[in-house]
């Protein structure tokens, strides 16, 4: 009867560290402290050009974060709607959600980015960053939809029946009983999608949005220091994703408090 041990496996996000792993040399620690050590070493041993590169990037980091957070927000909203649509008995809503997911999953992300970006640009002239956010959110919303659907389905039907029998209607049941529980199952794959999305925001550098990668390219094309610049960019992406994956694993730990005996 109980479906509490369901694990949703989705996607290609960075691995979220296993909170049970108590060893001193975890893969996360080796990568994280290794990354910091290398960045520090490069800045101190060869401040020219590495210090210059690092000084050039903060604007780009901010843009990357802005695009990531705004896109994930949009993706979560679209994902929730799509996920509810996929389990809905309303034929129209269900079909619309399924079609959205099928279409988005069948087109490469970069192609969708170009398409939405230029389509939006031509139709309603929105700022570059907004177009990029809408495009990213729209694509990731489809993946989130599947995550939400799986998370909601993982909750035992008995929970719904108990809620209905008390007098809650379907949407109250979803809001007060199902989603708060599904969230715990959903969080790990959402976390993975979040990190995958952060990495994929590097694609928006092609769309005249000055994220980390685009700032790096600007620096490299003026200084011709391609190797050094991309080294630094790789290290910075790595550090960000490592910190995020750690935060997510802590959050996951906290959310599971009610499962502990």
């Amino acid at each position: 009867m109980s479906k509490k041990n369901v694990v949703i496996e989705v996607g290609d996000g960075a691995a979220i560290p296993d909170p049970e792993d108590k060893g001193l040399f975890t893969a996360w620690r080796i990568s994280f402290f290794g990354t910091i050590a290398i960045i520090c070493y490069l800045i101190i041993a060869k401040p020219d050009p590495y210090l210059d590169i690092i000084k050039f990037l903060p604007d780009g980091i901010m843009v990357t974060f802005k695009v990531t957070f705004a896109s994930i927000g949009l993706a979560l909203v679209l994902g929730l709607i799509a996920g509810l649509g996929r389990i809905s008995k309303n034929r129209f809503f269900n079909l619309a959600a399924s079609t959205y997911i099928e279409v988005v999953r069948g087109i490469p992300l970069l192609v969708q980015l170009f398409y939405i970006y230029f389509a939006l640009g031509n139709l309603i002239r929105v700022p570059d960053m907004v177009a990029a956010i809408i495009a990213m959110g729209f694509c990731y919303g489809a993946y989130m939809g599947e995550v939400f659907r799986a998370g909601i389905n993982s909750i035992d039907d008995g929970q719904t029946e108990a809620s209905l029998s008390l007098g809650f209607n379907r949407s109250q049941t979803m809001r007060y009983v199902i989603l708060p529980q599904a969230w715990r199952t959903i969080l790990p794959p959402v976390g993975n999608e979040f990190i995958a999305l952060l990495k994929d925001t590097s694609l928006v550098s092609i769309l005249a949005v000055s994220d980390i990668l685009r700032r790096g390219r600007e620096f490299a094309s003026e200084s011709f220091l391609y190797f050094e610049t991309y080294t630094m960019i790789a290290l910075i992406y790595l550090m960000i994703t490592l910190v995020l994956s750690k935060l997510l694993s802590n959050m996951e730990n906290r959310l599971s408090h009610y499962e502990r005996r």
Binding site: G158, Q159, E161, A162, L166, Q172, Y176, Q181, Y258, R261
Partner: protein, 246 residues
């Protein structure tokens, strides 16, 4: 003859799952304060019957009137009717993400707009009644089956229902925990609650039941007071059933 109106009236109800008929022309009425025990072999439609009363299963045809309202009439708000009908499940179904106390207060606060303090006070009184006050802050996973079921009963009572439905409330419990749950149910019966109970606990059926309903293959085969039912069963199938379980 006293002329009380039944609080539940089930008339000629049929229920199909696809081509399979789970309820076959079932009629039954329950008076206010009456305790009805439903017996029958596994798969005979006992759960289905119980679940049609609060429309967890929609009936295919017939009529069910609960407290004066026809439940399949779309003009009547099924959610309001369900507030009047508490249900206790075999698998407890406590809200896993809520503490024991929150399990009891959630519905009164959200549905009846009861002030939090008020709801908590009533919840503590109910927990006291089922002997679970000291576990108010625990989560369901931290409780034994018997404790979870007692909390589940209290949660249903928190909505002050007029009718309580029990679907094999002790079937998932270890034998040593059955007594504590039955005890709560007996107390509730003494207080005059209207109860419809599907169970295999014959002692409970005899002690508490006003009438016993025996089902087989989706039909109600026999309705009788417990003494008559157990000592002088009329129907052939009832006799076979009783021989098997007693």
């Amino acid at each position: 003859m006293n002329a009380v109106n039944p609080i539940i009236t089930i008339r000629n109800v049929n229920k199909f799952f696809g081509n399979f008929q789970a309820l076959d022309d079932v009629s039954l009425s329950v008076d206010p304060g009456e305790k009805v025990v439903v017996l029958g072999p596994s798969g005979s439609g006992k759960s289905t019957l119980l679940r049609t009363i609060n429309q967890l299963e929609k009936i295919s045809s017939g009529s069910i009137v609960v407290d004066g309202q026809e439940i399949s009439d779309p003009k009547n708000d099924i959610n309001r009717i369900r507030e009047e009908v508490g249900m206790v499940f075999q698998s407890f179904n406590l809200f896993r993400h809520k503490t024991v106390l929150e399990n009891l207060t959630l519905a009164p606060i959200k549905l009846k707009k009861e002030p939090e303090k008020e709801a908590e006070k009533r919840a503590m009184a109910l927990l006291d009644k089922v002997g679970m006050v000291d576990k108010a802050g625990s989560y369901p996973v931290q409780l034994s089956g018997g404790q979870q079921q007692r909390v589940a009963i209290a949660r249903a009572l928190a909505m002050t229902p007029k009718i309580m439905l029990f679907d094999e409330p002790t079937s998932a419990l270890d034998p040593e925990m059955i007594g504590e749950v039955l005890e709560v149910m007996v107390t509730l019966a003494r207080e005059g609650m209207t109860m419809v109970v599907v169970t295999h606990e014959m002692g409970f059926a005899r002690e508490v039941g006003d009438k016993v309903v025996f089902m087989d293959e989706g039909k109600i085969v026999e309705i009788a007071p417990p003494d008559q039912f157990f000592d002088h069963p009329e129907n052939e199938r009832t006799r076979t059933f009783l021989e098997q379980i007693l």
